[in-house]
Symmetry: C2
Subunit: 121 residues, 2 copies
């Protein structure tokens, strides 16, 4: 049973918009990502998605309701089927919680689509 | 869509060993708990359980392998069927992630067993 230290884990990679698998339980995955700038608008038809901010700030934009702005130590759950776009003015370190195999760009194919799962080293 | 600020959420209750439901997704629950002292030895036969420490320190004891000591910003997943006991010398604030309806004392009935779900106010 191996613990994960979030600060050490985030120090272990630099690539942005490229989630690293950090844990698995009950068919769900814990992923860590560094993000900066605007992601693509997308939705997950079969997956609720939790965003937790470890450092920095993250705004999640929605089409039909107010943005949610997260600072370090805050989380929100985006329900399945809700179109959203994560945006960060400066680099943020975030933790994602979602079902195993959830595609990062959801229903959209983009140059940001992650095609192979990457694990923490 | 309502975000949760962990510090504010932990400030909203005092009771120890009494998890508060803070979020739900994909049949899983995010719970927040204040813990101090020794919990009961137990296991969850059908639930993997994630422990994340928000503040303080938490040791998770196991029968057959080394303890895992968690400080703030660290997490570990305890697989289903593994007997464990959380222990904290001083109060720790922890986040739990586990399937909806998971009983806090698992296969054991104890005075610490939580019989009704409590939500954040």
């Amino acid at each position: 049973m191996k613990k994960v230290n979030l600060t050490d884990a985030f120090d272990s990679f630099d690539e942005q918009w490229s989630p690293r698998l950090a844990g698995e339980l009950n068919g769900q995955e814990v992923k860590l990502a560094k993000v900066e700038g605007e992601f693509v608008w997308h939705q997950h038809d079969d997956a609720d998605e939790l965003f937790f901010v470890h450092s920095g700030e993250l705004t999640i934009q929605f089409r039909d309701e107010p943005d949610v702005h997260l600072e370090a130590g805050e989380f929100v759950v985006v329900p399945r089927g809700v179109e959203h776009r994560p945006v960060a003015d400066e680099e943020a370190q975030i933790l994602l919680f979602e079902p195993r195999g959830t595609k990062n760009t959801g229903d959209v194919d983009s140059e940001l689509t992650q095609t192979a799962e990457k694990r923490l080293e």
